[in-house]
């Protein structure tokens, strides 16, 4: 099978260094505003800081996959004497909560590592975290060419959510209607 190299981007979160300032949320939302940087709104961010100072809990969590259905369990963990709800750590844009969704439309949000052209030196949340709680790492790995999954675009992600909510048929109808309006 043909091999090719691929850059794996990752962000190492050192929650011990996080001071709960939420600069990362602000920066992420600004980067993804339209036009870029024109506005900011942490509620639209693809990183969310769980900040419970009285319990000394500070955990930056990145938005992951969209999920159409919520999990059954609601577990909690006690780590180092502090109680965390599993849901808080979860990266999914999930119907059970408001996190990782566009506040107006409810469309799911997902961290895209600030993919853009031209590429940034480092993701914007990392750049704005001046205390080093977020650390960017790049690794080259070899992967099988065929195995590489095509990337799901932001629009597709949104569509997927709409399809789950209204059914494929209805969405297709609406798209057709909108297309006509445009003409």
């Amino acid at each position: 099978m043909a091999k090719k190299t691929k850059t794996v981007k990752s962000i190492k979160v050192n929650a011990d260094l996080c001071n709960g300032c939420r600069a990362c949320e602000m920066a992420c939302s600004a980067f993804h505003s339209e036009p870029k940087y024109s506005s900011n709104n942490p509620a639209r961010s693809r990183i969310s800081v769980i900040r419970r100072p009285l319990e000394d809990i500070y955990v930056p969590v990145y938005a992951g996959e969209y999920t159409p259905a919520e999990c059954l369990g609601r577990n909690s963990y006690i780590l180092d004497g502090k109680e965390y709800k599993e849901c808080e750590f979860c990266r999914a844009s999930c119907p059970s909560r408001g996190d990782f969704k566009e506040p107006d439309s409810g469309l799911p949000l997902k961290c895209d590592m600030c993919e853009s052209i031209p590429a940034l030196d480092e993701p914007l949340c990392v750049k704005w975290c001046m205390v080093g709680a977020l650390e960017y790492e790049e690794r080259e790995v070899e992967v099988d060419e065929e195995e590489e999954q095509p990337k799901v675009s932001e629009m597709e992600l949104g569509l997927e959510h709409l399809v789950d909510k209204f059914g494929l048929h209805k969405v297709a109808e609406s798209v057709a209607r909108l297309t006509k309006k445009e003409d």
Partner: protein
């Protein structure tokens, strides 16, 4: 579209239980800048001078600064403005934390409370949705506890809460408004909130804040961030550690207790303990701090971590910042463990960490002097620390003697009489000051103490070093990259300043230089209070990242309002004068503008009078501290001049000859 600001204020009438989203005029932003500036305009327009602090007509304004909610690092101040029960003047306490950006994201620049609610309520603002909710279940609850309960009952972990404790509910004149990471403490604004029947304001916002010139704005932000990194790596040499870095005084990080305990006063601001510090105490206090401190924490969008979460043994966690770590310790002649412990209770009750300990020490002094009697303190514990907990409880619940003490040292002394006034010795404009007593009168500080309307020295000092540098080399090193000066002449002033001889205090800096230095320092604070910037990154520390040269660019790129240094300087002068006008209209005069008599041992009454007159003139005020008609009109404050003339506060033409003679 409005940029940086939202263009809307939320008006809440507590008497009627109604609310309204009201568009503001962008012209006012251009003239008064926002934050404290537009607050001052609203107070002038809507709160007549005869209004009592505890009346339906008094307003309580929670304002975000003009640039809060934009990406500018450290721009997160909520500026709360009302009439103070303590000073009976307009007061404006600020707090950092997270509230101001949240107000912006909810779609407002200000929340303006008017009227009074009959029952205790809290206000839940979720973007456009506003609810006035019953708070009877929160009566008497701690401020931090209240925030926790509310977030849980609303199931809104990301909502920001500003709440009062028992002190605010009971209208203690030095009650604070607490917001977790931060508090607005000075002037008794918490008492006004309590008087309005509001236990808490709860805000959640998920709307956008727009920038006029996004790319330019981000570039400015990156310059500031780079400079912060530079300053963190290059602390200023030859000054005390606490003055070397950026941020609000880094009391949580820096172990500077030696300096404070030996230079500040203990008890009721009386006793200096020059040889207090020793190895053993150092070890002991460091252990205390390290064992109770959980983590250093920041305000919204700031890397500076000036606060800390503190957990005293057997007590709930709270958040602390600044010098309140030592105020209780020193008032009680105790140790850090006691100080950090009682500060937890005091934070929950919501009292000012400067005033409260002094009031308690004052009460015990009066007892010792026989002016207050043992009968006034039924059940008073024998040991000292217990007495402070006892007094705190009496005060915040206004029990017995606590009912009088709750009005602060000035008013309490008046009521107690019998020579008690002598013991309320550390006030300016009726409000307790930092416990400092020094030797030689310092002319710059004399002017700041006298004329500051923010009632706290830390809210006016900052840009110019507090003391001369010992050698020419040190001075050269300091002025070399001093980019923040509005004019290079300030470098010359510093270069010549000596510890002794002709070029030393009190006659150097000269009167003219003092005027310029004070005016510059004050201007930077007023800019911060309009924009919502943390003084810790701007007006308070030496060589800060924000200054008069980059601020106009931030305002212009953020809000789209064309701005340059000249226009900004004039706008600040305009609104600073309007703040004074509010107070002049309420009766403040030259006679009120003086430091505590015993602040310095060596005083120079005639020279001080000369200084004050010169500064008034420099500011465009007459010899009684009242802005002159000419300067008011020049600033576009003709409406103030008209009212002053109509009321006889100013007499037509009275100041004109004097002004022209000085040209």
């Amino acid at each position: 579209m409005r940029y940086a600001e939202t263009g809307y204020n939320l008006e809440i009438d507590l008497t009627r239980g109604s609310y309204d989203r009201v568009e503001s005029d962008v012209v006012d932003t251009e003239l008064y800048l926002g934050g404290l500036g537009t607050n001052a305009k609203i107070m002038w327009d809507r709160v007549p001078p005869e209004t009592e602090p505890f009346s339906e007509d008094n307003l309580l304004i929670f304002s975000a600064g003009l640039l809060c909610g934009t990406p500018a690092t450290g721009c997160n101040r909520t500026i709360i403005t009302t009439l103070s029960p303590q000073t009976e003047l307009m007061c404006f306490s600020m707090m950092g934390g997270f509230l101001a950006p949240e107000i912006k994201y909810a779609g407002y620049d200000k929340i303006i409370l008017s009227g009074k609610s009959k029952d205790l309520v809290y206000i839940w603002i979720n973007n456009d949705k506003v609810e006035i909710r019953d708070a009877s279940h929160l009566k008497g609850k701690g401020a931090i506890e209240t925030s926790k309960i509310i977030c849980e009952e609303l199931n809104e972990p990301k909502a920001q809460v500003a709440a009062i404790g028992a002190a605010g509910e009971n209208r203690v004149y030095f009650a604070s408004i607490e917001q977790g990471r931060s508090s607005a403490s000075r002037g008794g604004i918490g008492a006004v909130m309590g008087d309005k029947g509001v236990k808490a304001i709860v805000v959640r916002g998920t709307k956008d804040i727009n920038l006029a010139e996004p790319d330019r704005y981000f570039d400015l932000c990156y310059e500031v961030m780079d400079y912060i990194r530079f300053r963190n790596e290059n602390p200023i040499p030859n000054v005390m550690p606490i003055l070397a870095g950026l941020g609000s005084p880094q009391e949580m990080k820096v172990h500077d207790e030696k300096w404070h305990t030996e230079n500040f006063m203990w008890g009721n601001s009386r006793v200096r303990r020059r040889d207090f510090w020793n190895e053993e105490i150092a070890k002991d206090w460091e252990e205390t701090m390290n064992s109770m401190q959980r983590r250093l924490i920041s305000c919204y969008n700031c890397p500076m971590t000036c606060g800390a979460t503190i957990q005293p043994p057997g007590m709930d966690t709270y958040m602390m910042k600044c010098f309140s770590k030592l105020t209780y310790t020193m008032a009680a002649f105790s140790d850090l463990e006691f100080g950090l412990g009682i500060a937890q209770a005091a934070t929950e009750h919501g009292v000012d960490g400067f005033s409260a300990p002094q009031v308690m020490a004052f009460a015990l002094e009066l007892l010792e002097a026989g002016i207050l009697k043992p009968e006034d303190f039924p059940g008073l514990p024998e040991e000292n620390e217990g007495r402070f907990y006892y007094l705190l409880d009496m005060i915040v619940n206004r029990k017995g003697i606590g009912n009088i003490l709750a009005n602060g040292t000035y008013w309490a002394a008046k009521e107690i009489g019998n020579g008690a006034e002598e013991y309320a010795h550390n006030n300016i404009k009726k409000i307790e000051q930092l416990p400092l007593k020094l030797g030689m009168m310092n002319p710059v500080y004399f002017l700041m103490y006298s004329t500051g309307e923010k009632m706290n020295i830390t809210q006016i000092e900052g840009q110019f070093p507090q003391a001369p540098f010992a050698t020419v080399e040190e001075r050269e090193a300091f002025v070399k990259d001093w980019i923040q000066v509005p004019d290079d002449k300030f470098k010359d002033y510093l270069m010549k300043w000596e510890f002794r001889g002709e070029f030393s205090n009190p006659y150097y800096p000269t009167i003219d230089m003092c005027c310029e230095i004070v005016d510059w320092m004050e201007m930077m604070h007023y800019i911060d209070d309009a924009l919502g910037m943390c003084a810790g990154l701007s007006s308070f520390p030496l060589k800060p990242p924000y200054h008069i040269h980059n601020y106009p660019k931030f305002i212009e790129a953020g809000s789209g309002i064309p701005m340059d240094e000249e226009k900004l300087t004039k706008a600040v002068k305009r609104y600073r004068t309007l703040v004074r006008a509010n107070n002049i209209r309420r009766g403040m005069r030259r006679a009120d503008e003086k430091p505590p008599e015993n602040h310095w041992k060596k005083r120079f009454p005639e020279y001080e009078a000369e200084l004050l007159s010169a500064y008034y003139k420099f500011k465009g005020w007459n010899d009684d501290g009242i802005p002159t008609e000419e300067s008011l009109r020049d600033l576009g404050l003709g409406y103030v001049a008209d009212e002053f003339l109509a009321k006889g506060i100013l007499k037509a033409g009275a100041d004109a000859p004097q002004e022209s003679a000085s040209e």
